[in-house]
């Protein structure tokens, strides 16, 4: 078993509500895993647990053979290795796009703006935002903001990326430009876990699709298999609703 990230029996509760009820999941190096399921099924929480934004109550999370869920472990270096992009972009509104991107590498890796500039302007260029580097978030469209947020996460040169329904807040005509970015990353071989409602996209690109229901992974299978021949009744019902 040569997984980049392995979850074993991950449990997370908020008060009386148990959101993750013992989740096992393996993400191999270079693999793209999609989490699907209705709202409230625990997809977002699971992602936030993976990079330690939420401490888990029980279970293990192994990253490259190290249990990062060990209580008392400093989460900062781990978070630098696992990037995450949120549904609501969460750009820093008081900084220009390029400052948003540079802040974390400058502070955590001690790099200067000059050090970072070549690589970062390359990223902006690659994702079609070369002329938007000096813009502030409120001067950008939702799609542009989300692409800046992805660049911001990538600028930390993470080993893997988590995407939390990053197209859900976008107008339909802006979804495409963000999904293109994901395709690009897929091509580069980035290890990715996505929570998504874009079933067509998941079917097209994912190596593995997991159906979450009430805090558990009810069914996981290669994308084609899960979409064309789901085994569980609830998976079928869900797919019938969304497809």
């Amino acid at each position: 078993m040569n997984a980049k990230l392995s979850l074993r029996g991950v449990r997370k509760r908020f008060g009386d509500l148990e959101v993750c009820k013992g989740i096992d999941l393996d993400v191999a190096e270079g693999e793209m895993v999609c989490l699907i399921g209705s709202s409230g099924s625990g997809k977002s929480t699971l992602l936030r647990c993976m990079n330690l934004l939420e401490p888990i109550d029980d279970g293990e999370i192994w990253l490259d053979g190290v249990d990062i869920a060990e209580p008392g472990l400093d989460p900062q270096p781990i978070r630098q290795r696992i990037g995450i992009v949120f549904q609501s972009y969460n750009l820093f509104p008081h900084m220009s796009a390029v400052e948003n991107v540079m802040l974390a590498p400058r502070r955590t890796k001690g790099l200067s703006r000059a050090d970072l500039m070549p690589r970062i302007s390359q990223l902006f260029e690659k994702f079609g935002l070369a002329d938007r580097m000096q813009h502030f978030p409120d001067q950008l469209s939702g799609g542009q903001q989300q692409r800046v947020a992805i660049i911001r996460a990538l600028a930390m040169e993470p080993e893997m990326m988590l995407f939390d329904e990053i197209t859900s807040a976008l107008d339909p005509e802006l979804v495409g430009e963000v999904l293109d970015v994901l395709r690009e990353l897929r091509q580069q071989g980035m290890t990715m876990v996505l929570a998504t409602h874009e079933m067509g996209f998941a079917r097209e690109l994912a190596d593995k699709v997991c159906f979450l229901d009430a805090g558990m992974i009810l069914e996981q299978a290669p994308a084609e298999q899960l979409f064309s021949a789901p085994k569980e009744e609830r998976t079928k019902a869900f797919l019938a609703r969304v497809l």
Binding site: R48, N51, L53, P75, Q76, P77, R79, Q80, G83, I84, F86, S88, N90, L91, F92, P93, H94, L103, A104, R107, T108, R152, A153, M156
Partner: protein, 286 residues
Amino acid sequence: MSDTAQQTGLAGASPAKPTRREIYEASVRRRSNRIALFSTLSVIVAIVLLIPLAPGWEAVQRSFFNGRVFAATFPGLAEAFLLNVMIFAWSAPLIALTGLAIALCRDARAPALFPLRMFGVAYTDIFRGLPVVLVIYIVGFGIPGLGLPRPWNSPYIWGTLALVLVYSAYVAEVIRSGIDSIHQSQRSAAASLGLSDGDTMRFVVLPQAIRNVVPANMNLFIALQKDVALLSFIGPVEIFRQAGVYKSLYANFTPYVGAALIFLALTVPATRYADYLMNKQNKQRS
């Protein structure tokens, strides 16, 4: 006059021909302007005509609006006001820095820093709970009374400290409310990038928080400008005290009116500016 202005405004908006709606709105506007003008004038006329009819008006005029006393004392008052400005000028930055430090104390989340948080809470509770003048007396006379040599017992130093203590408590609360107003998702985003708590506060939360509370703090600093006068209780002859001296010399309250005018000349523009900032911010939010 206002008609032509409106017409040019209309012409700018639609060079061809005003629409039915625009014509209607212009007439409504003219009507409300007329009513506003009429009611304002009526009130002013009533004040100007009626107050002097009061039986004591002459006496009031002699002791509060005495031209001779005003002319004799106004230059001295203006000069004394420079001291207010100076005290304000060195107090304000100290208050801002101390307020920020106290706000950060109250926001300290690490358990090891619990005493710091307790200190922040006690500080803001105590100094917001005390009248400024009391703190000025206690600190301004009390601490020098411990036997400090000159110049370290100066009422300027300890009076300033009293102002800093009280006002930084208010500023700290305002800044803290600004910190609380920053959505948790901003902290999450910063944490997800691997930023430390300190960096998150310094680069992500505080810049936004402070910007949000600029108008509220402006109001505090306008209040401070007025409360600088309370330092006169422990010796410094600023404008309020100078007015009191003149009042005593002339047995006349006109110097207070002069001092009030000088205060207003500064605080009214500052207040208008704070309101302007506040409105701008509200518009941005909506």
